[in-house]
């Protein structure tokens, strides 16, 4: 249920989150010091390649991390309350009620032995005092809300009787049936056709308007981000490398990785013989470089990159994890505080533009 008192400050605030996986081959630091915020009714796009830790971040927020993974450090504050300190029971109340999540694979995310209506109704019954009949009514209501025709009949059907696009709508209906404050959408359209994708995105835009709902939209598709997001967080190898509002990130990307991502999008109005790529590959989690994680692939690599850069202020509300100045120049030797001082000072660092 929507919380009545909207606390001042961000809806979701993640600080220094570290989620590690302890495997036989070594420890995988899937999320290694991630911080960002989502404001009420705002949409945050979380962008990055496969394996950069964006899904794990979202699962950490829901506290759905299981062995061999573990949230080892950090805080996740929802309306000011740290979710990592909540008991299992309290967390269960929050999951599906204040924070809902939809997943990438609509084909397998619904239980095949229960009808769509039953599954939606179950969510409603779990978090409200609704009876079974009331739950089913709400289910039908939600199904028509998400644009499923003949909702009453569909509610009695099984997931395998619906197409992929429709199943994703059912998932959205289920997630929204409890009127959550925050919807986490993990690659919701990746597995769908482009046309269906457009429909789903439009649906989400619609619903967030109506319900004043914040969305954490995880995707590797920059086009989707451009359409939907207010703010953007770019992740690479378990860390946030750039953060800012959507116009700034797309118009004036600072971090070389972000630049690389944007440059690799082919443009309709330009004719090119070869597509641009970011050279190299994402480092294996068992073989991370020392210092800046992107250094092996970065065209601007400098000696100082052997020391891990902190998040540095680039503009108002725009930060980037890179030693380059806001103007994109290599830093003058000696002009900046030493990296150790920078780390000690915390994530944000103000650098005078040269």
């Amino acid at each position: 249920m929507t919380t009545v008192s909207r606390s001042v400050g961000p809806l979701l605030e993640i600080q220094g989150l570290k989620t590690h996986f302890f495997t036989q081959d070594g420890t995988v630091r899937a999320v290694d010091g991630v911080s960002f915020q989502i404001g009420h009714a705002k949409t945050l796009g979380v962008v990055g390649e496969s394996g950069c830790g964006k899904s794990i971040t979202s699962l950490s927020v829901m506290r759905l991390i299981e062995r061999p993974g573990k949230i080892v450090e950090g805080s996740i504050k929802l309306n000011g309350e740290d979710l990592l300190e909540k008991s299992d029971e309290e967390m269960r109340d929050i999951r599906g009620d204040q924070v809902s999540m939809i997943f990438q694979e609509p084909m397998t995310s619904l239980n095949p032995v229960f009808t769509c209506g039953e599954q939606i109704s179950e969510a409603v019954q779990q978090h409200t005092a609704a009876s079974r009949r009331e739950g089913m009514d709400r289910a039908v209501e939600m199904l028509s809300l998400v644009g499923i025709p003949d909702a009453k009949r569909r509610a009695r059907e099984y997931p395998h009787q619906l197409s992929g696009g429709m199943r994703q709508r059912v998932m959205i209906a289920m997630a929204l049936s409890t009127d959550p404050d925050l919807l986490i959408a993990d690659e919701p359209t990746t597995a769908l056709d482009v046309t269906i994708q457009a429909q789903i995105l439009e649906l989400m835009r619609d619903l967030r308007e109506k319900n004043r709902m914040a969305i954490m939209l995880i995707t590797h598709d920059l086009g989707v981000v451009a359409e939907m997001a207010d703010e953007v967080v770019v992740m690479y190898a378990g860390k946030v490398v750039e953060r800012g509002d959507v116009r700034t990130i797309f118009g004036n990307p600072h971090h070389p990785y972000t630049q690389g991502l944007l440059h690799s999008i082919p443009r309709l109005d330009e004719r090119v013989d070869r597509l641009e790529v970011i050279k190299g590959t994402v480092p294996s989690p068992y073989n991370l470089p020392a210092g800046c994680l992107f250094k092996r692939r970065c065209p601007f690599r400098m000696p100082i990159c052997d020391v891990a850069p902190p998040m540095r202020q680039i503009g108002e509300e725009h930060t980037s994890r890179c030693w380059l100045t806001p103007a994109g120049e290599p830093p003058e030797v000696g002009a900046d505080p030493t990296p150790e001082e920078a780390e000690a000072a915390g994530e944000q660092l103000t650098v005078e533009p040269r």
């Binding site: 302890f22 036989q24 061999p68 590959t281 294996s284 073989n287 470089p289 690599r301 000696p303 290599p330």
Partner: protein, 314 residues
């Protein structure tokens, strides 16, 4: 890190070799062997089986009169060398009729294992042929063959084996044959499943498009990947066959008591359950060891040969 040279203008390091990802590339078999070795139980199983096979083969050869009766030694205690200096390895003492229990056990194990392995050979052969043909050909051939498999599965296995052996005589060969022709169904199904999925594999389509004969395609392209389930089926099949033979002999339908097998030993032991209960102990232990070892081995191989691995916890 301090000794790197950088290009003066671009500040990019000149020597890039440190960036090469040094994780080794290993072949499929090397990876499989690595995975297998991680399974402690599978390794123990393999070792146990090897020890048993060697002991069963060597002991009866080394000791004279391994299974013979010798009344003078009735209930004699355990000894390694007898009074005349012969190597007897009577580690378990002597039975009421003066039989060296340890060497008899080893000889029995040898017989049981031999029957088991031979039966598995038949099982694998029939299973692979039927499974490969059914899986590769598909269509009505597959349908017909699967009906045959269904019919074979519908027959009460143990019963048929007993009947077979009872009617045609209880020699080692009839037993091997009986177990073989009733036990191939699982192997056939496994092979067929593998072949059916391989059939649609791109590289098989390519081979077909290039005009390779079905025989070549089956033998050279499809059989090697299908080996994995065959190997697993074989190792589990050994356990099953040994147990079947033992059951047969236990019920009195197996080979005669002169040619000891684990089953015949247990048959006799059961008769004397009241008077000499310990007789059941050692043949049972050996039998259980064989089954457990073969099962662990099979499980370990199955996990090792399957490229889709889940992440194991530390």
């Amino acid at each position: 890190m301090a000794d790197r040279t950088y290009d003066d203008v671009t500040q990019v390091p000149v020597d890039d070799t440190e960036d090469i990802d040094r994780t080794e590339v290993r072949s499929y078999w090397q990876l499989a062997r690595r995975r297998f070795v991680r399974h402690r139980l599978a390794v123990i199983g393999a070792i146990t089986l090897a020890v048993l096979i060697v002991a069963a083969a060597v002991v009866p050869l080394v000791v004279e009169n391994a299974t013979g009766v010798s009344i003078s030694k009735s209930f004699a205690p355990a000894e390694i060398v007898d009074d005349e200096g012969n190597l007897v390895l009577a580690l378990l003492g002597y039975s009421r009729t003066g039989i060296n229990m340890f060497t008899q056990l080893m000889a029995a194990t040898a017989t049981s294992l031999m029957i088991g392995f031979a039966a598995v050979l038949i099982i694998v052969f029939i299973g692979v042929v039927i499974g490969a043909v059914a899986g590769y050909a598909g269509g009505w051939v597959d349908n017909v063959l699967m009906r045959v498999v269904d019919i074979a599965l519908s027959m009460p296995g143990l019963f048929i084996i007993i009947a077979f052996v009872a009617f045609w005589g209880a020699s080692i060969w009839t037993i091997i044959l009986a177990i073989g022709i009733t036990g191939w169904t699982t192997a056939a199904r496994l092979v067929r499943a593998e072949f059916l999925s391989l059939r649609e594999a791109d590289y098989v389509q390519a081979a077909r498009a290039l005009g390779a004969s079905p025989r070549r395609i089956i033998l050279r392209h499809m059989l090697p990947p299908a080996l994995a389930p065959i190997i697993v089926a074989a190792s589990l099949g050994v356990a099953d066959s040994v147990v079947l033979e033992a059951a047969l002999s236990f019920l009195g339908f197996g080979i005669g008591a002169e040619q000891a097998s684990l089953g015949t030993l247990l048959n006799v032991a059961f008769e004397y359950l009241n008077r000499e209960p310990y007789l059941v102990l050692f043949p049972s232990i050996v039998l259980i060891l064989i089954v457990l070892a073969a099962n662990f081995l099979g499980d370990g191989m199955r996990d090792a040969l399957d490229p889709r691995q889940r992440v194991e916890q530390q």
